[in-house]
C-alpha cells in the first residue's frame, strides 16, 4: 500500500483515513461495499469499449452480427489484411519519429528556458517571461492558418520536409517552460554559486546540477508531450499531404470513408493505433497519474 502522505494529520488519525470515527463504524462496512459496486460499474463503462474493440478485431466478418463476447473462431486475418492494405507500419514509424523528436526538443528547451528564467538576472526577463506565458492564451486553432501559410511558403508540406512540418509547432511549449521554472525554484542558488566558484561553465552547471535535480519534472513533461504528440490530430491532418507521411491518428481517420461496413477492419485499425500507447500507459501509469496531479495542481 501507498504510504499516506497527508502530513498535516497526526499518525493516529492518518490510519483512520477511510474508516472514520467510531460513531461511523457501523455504517462504514455497508458503505464500503456500495462504493466498490459503484466504482466497478463505472470501470466497466470505461473498459468495455476497449475490450469490445479488441474482441471485434479477432472476429471473422460473419461473426460480427452475432452477439457473442468471445469469437468462435478467433483469427488474425483482420490484422494481416489491415497491415497488408494500408501503410500502418510506416505510420507507426512516423508517429514514433515525430513524437520522439518533439519530446526531446521540448524536454531540453523547456528545461533550459525555465532554468534561465528562474536563475538568471538580466534586462527584459519579466517581458520575456510574460511574452512566453501570453502565448498560452492563443488556441492552436488560431495558429493553423498562418502555420499552413508558412509551411506552403517553405515547402514543409512536401516530401520528407513533412516531418518537420508536423513537428515544428511543438518543439518548445510555454506550459512546459512554466512548469520547469516552478521546479527550478526548489533548486538552491547556493549550489549553483558553489559550482561557479569551482569554475564550472554556465552550460555545465545546468547540465550537471540543474538537470539532475529536476529529473522527475522532466520525466513528467516528457511523458505528457509524448502522449500529446502521439495523439495530435488537427495539425498533422492539415499539413501531411502524402499517405506515407501520415501519423497514426491521421492514417486511421481515413478508414472512416473507406469501409463503413467493415467494422472488423475498422476495429483492427483502431486497436493497432491505440494499443501501443495503452501499453506505454500501463507501464508508466504510476508516474503519469502522479504527474497529472502534480502539474494540474501547480498550473
Amino acid at each position: 500500500m501507498e504510504p499516506n502522505l497527508d502530513t498535516t494529520a497526526p499518525p493516529v488519525l492518518q490510519s483512520n483515513r477511510t474508516t472514520a470515527s467510531p460513531a461511523f463504524d457501523l455504517r462504514v462496512q455497508g458503505i464500503q461495499g456500495l462504493v466498490y459496486i459503484l466504482l466497478t460499474a463505472g470501470a466497466l463503462v470505461m473498459v468495455t469499449p476497449f475490450l469490445w474493440m479488441l474482441i471485434t478485431s479477432f472476429k471473422p466478418a460473419p461473426e460480427l452480427v452475432e452477439f457473442a463476447w468471445w469469437p468462435k473462431s478467433p483469427t488474425l486475418a483482420n490484422y494481416q489484411r489491415v497491415l497488408a492494405t494500408s501503410n500502418f507500419v510506416r505510420w507507426y514509424f512516423n508517429s514514433v519519429l515525430v513524437a520522439l523528436f518533439s519530446t526531446t526538443c521540448v524536454v531540453l528547451f523547456d528545461s533550459l528556458v525555465g532554468y534561465t528564467l528562474c536563475k538568471f538576472e538580466f534586462p527584459g526577463k519579466t517581458l520575456i517571461f510574460v511574452g512566453i506565458l501570453a502565448t498560452l492564451m492563443v488556441p492552436t486553432e488560431m495558429l493553423i492558418i498562418p502555420w499552413f501559410d508558412m509551411s506552403v511558403r517553405f515547402h514543409w508540406n512536401e516530401g520528407i520536409a513533412q516531418y518537420w512540418g508536423i513537428a515544428f509547432p511543438g518543439v518548445i511549449t510555454a506550459a512546459g517552460v512554466f512548469l520547469m521554472r516552478q521546479f527550478f525554484n526548489g533548486v538552491p542558488n547556493e549550489l549553483l554559486d558553489a559550482a561557479r566558484i569551482d569554475g564550472m561553465s554556465e552550460f555545465g552547471i545546468w547540465v550537471r546540477i540543474g538537470v539532475p535535480l529536476t529529473k522527475s519534472a522532466m520525466a513528467a513533461l516528457a511523458i505528457f508531450n509524448f502522449i500529446g504528440n502521439w495523439n495530435a490530430y488537427l495539425w498533422p491532418l492539415i499539413i501531411a499531404s502524402q499517405r506515407e507521411y501520415y501519423t497514426l491518428p491521421v492514417g486511421l481517420s481515413f478508414f472512416r470513408g473507406e469501409s463503413t461496413t467493415e467494422w472488423e477492419k475498422i476495429m483492427t485499425a483502431s486497436s493497432l493505433a491505440s494499443i501501443p500507447l495503452l501499453c506505454v500507459f500501463m507501464v508508466f501509469q504510476r508516474n503519469i497519474i502522479a504527474g497529472v496531479a502534480l502539474t494540474g495542481l501547480k498550473g
Binding site: 497527508d6 498535516t8 494529520a9 477511510t18 460513531a23 461511523f24 462504493v35 466504482l39 470505461m46 473498459v47 469499449p49 476497449f50 469490445w52 474493440m53 471485434t56 452480427v65 452477439f67 528547451f109 528556458v113 534561465t116 538576472e121 538580466f122 534586462p123 511574452g131 512566453i132 492564451m137 492563443v138 488556441p139 486553432e141 488560431m142 495558429l143 493553423i144 492558418i145 498562418p146 501559410d149 506552403v152 511558403r153 518543439v171 510555454a174 554556465e202 495523439n231 490530430y233 492539415i238 497514426l248 491518428p249 486511421l252 481517420s253 475498422i266 476495429m267 493505433a273 491505440s274 495503452l278 500507459f281 501509469q285 504510476r286 503519469i288 497529472v292 496531479a293 494540474g296 495542481l297
Partner: protein, 301 residues
C-alpha cells in the same frame, strides 16, 4: 575584453534563451498577429497575400449566423450545447468518482488506470469504437438494449440524439483527467478539519457541503475552465463520428473548429476561417479572465 560577473550572466541568459526567443516570436507571436490580419483580408494562402476587406469576413459570419439553417449558426449553437451538456456532466461525474476513489484502498490503482485509459487514447480511435458501439442493430448497445427490452435508439444517426451521443463520448474520454485532479485536491484537505467537524456533531452531507466543497473551490474552477475550453475546441470526435466528417446528420453536430477546418482547408476561404478563429480566441480569453477573477477570491477559515 574582460566581462564582469554580471555581464557574463546577462550574456549567458540570452545565449540560453536564443532558440526559444526565435521560436516564440516566429512560431507563436507572429502567426497569432497574422491571424488577426488574415481575418481582415480575402486571403490567398498560395500567394501569401490578400486584398484588405475590412470587417467583411466578420460581416459574412454574422450574415450567415442570422440565416436559420446555415453551417455557422449550427456550429455556434452546437458548440454552446456541447459546453452546456458536457461541462456540468463532466464536473459532477468526476467529482463523484473522485469522492468514491478517496474512500477505498484496495484496487485503487486498478480503478485509476481504468478511468484514465481513454484519456491517453487517440480521439480518432475513440470515435471509431463508439461508432461501432452506437451502431443500430449490430452495435453492442443495440444488442444490450434488445436484451433489456429497451427500444432501439438511433444515437449518432438521428439529428436529435447525435449531439448528446457525441457529448457522452467526449465526457467518457476526458473524465479520468478531472478525476485525478479532483482526487489530488481532496487529498490536500487536512483531515483535522473533518475530525473537528465530527466532534462538533457534523456528518456525511454536512462535511461535504461545508468542508470538501468550499475547500475544493479552486480545483473546481480550474477544471471547469479547462473542460469548457476543451468542449469549445471539440473537433476530432465530431469529425470522425458524423457522416462524411461534415458535422451531420443535418448539421446537428458540427462545431466551430470543424467549420474552421472545412471553410479553411476544404473551401480555402482563409479569411472567413481566420475570422472564426479570432472569435474563438476572444471567447476563450473571456473565460480565462473570468477564471482568474474567481481564483483570486480566497476563502477564509
Amino acid at each position: 575584453m574582460k566581462l564582469t560577473l554580471q555581464q557574463r550572466q546577462i550574456l549567458w541568459a540570452y545565449v540560453f534563451l536564443s532558440v526559444a526567443l526565435v521560436f516564440f516570436v516566429i512560431i507563436r507571436w507572429y502567426p497569432a498577429l497574422l491571424s488577426f490580419n488574415i481575418a481582415f483580408r480575402d486571403w490567398n494562402t498560395f500567394k501569401g497575400t490578400g486584398t484588405w476587406v475590412g470587417l467583411e469576413n466578420y460581416a459574412a459570419i454574422w450574415h450567415d449566423f442570422l440565416k436559420p439553417r446555415s453551417d455557422v449558426r449550427a456550429a455556434f449553437t452546437n458548440t454552446l450545447s456541447y459546453v452546456v451538456y458536457g461541462v456540468p456532466a463532466q464536473m459532477v461525474l468526476a467529482l463523484a468518482i473522485a469522492l468514491l476513489l478517496d474512500r477505498i484502498r484496495a484496487f485503487s490503482t486498478f480503478f485509476r488506470v481504468a478511468y484514465f485509459a481513454p484519456y491517453v487514447t487517440s480521439a480518432v480511435a475513440v470515435a471509431f469504437v463508439w461508432n461501432w458501439l452506437y451502431l443500430p442493430q449490430d452495435g453492442l448497445l443495440a444488442q444490450i438494449f434488445d436484451l433489456l427490452h429497451i427500444p432501439e435508439q438511433p444515437f449518432t444517426k438521428s439529428p436529435k440524439q447525435a449531439l448528446p451521443s457525441i457529448t457522452a463520448v467526449a465526457v467518457w474520454q476526458t473524465l479520468g483527467y478531472s478525476v485525478i485532479i479532483y482526487l489530488a485536491g481532496i487529498k490536500q484537505i487536512p483531515f483535522l478539519y473533518y475530525e473537528a467537524a465530527r466532534i462538533d456533531g457534523s456528518s456525511g452531507w454536512h462535511l461535504f457541503r461545508n468542508i470538501t466543497l468550499p475547500l475544493l473551490n479552486p480545483v473546481i474552477v480550474y477544471l471547469t475552465v479547462l473542460s469548457t475550453i476543451s468542449f469549445l475546441r471539440l473537433f476530432a470526435l465530431v469529425q470522425n463520428m458524423s457522416p462524411q466528417g461534415t458535422g451531420g446528420p443535418l448539421k446537428s453536430t458540427t462545431t466551430v473548429v470543424l467549420e474552421v477546418y472545412r471553410k479553411g482547408f476544404s473551401s480555402y476561404d482563409m479569411g472567413y476561417a481566420a475570422a472564426l478563429t479570432v472569435i474563438l480566441f476572444f471567447v476563450i480569453l473571456l473565460i480565462t479572465v473570468v477564471q482568474l477573477r474567481f481564483l483570486t477570491r480566497r476563502f477564509e477559515y
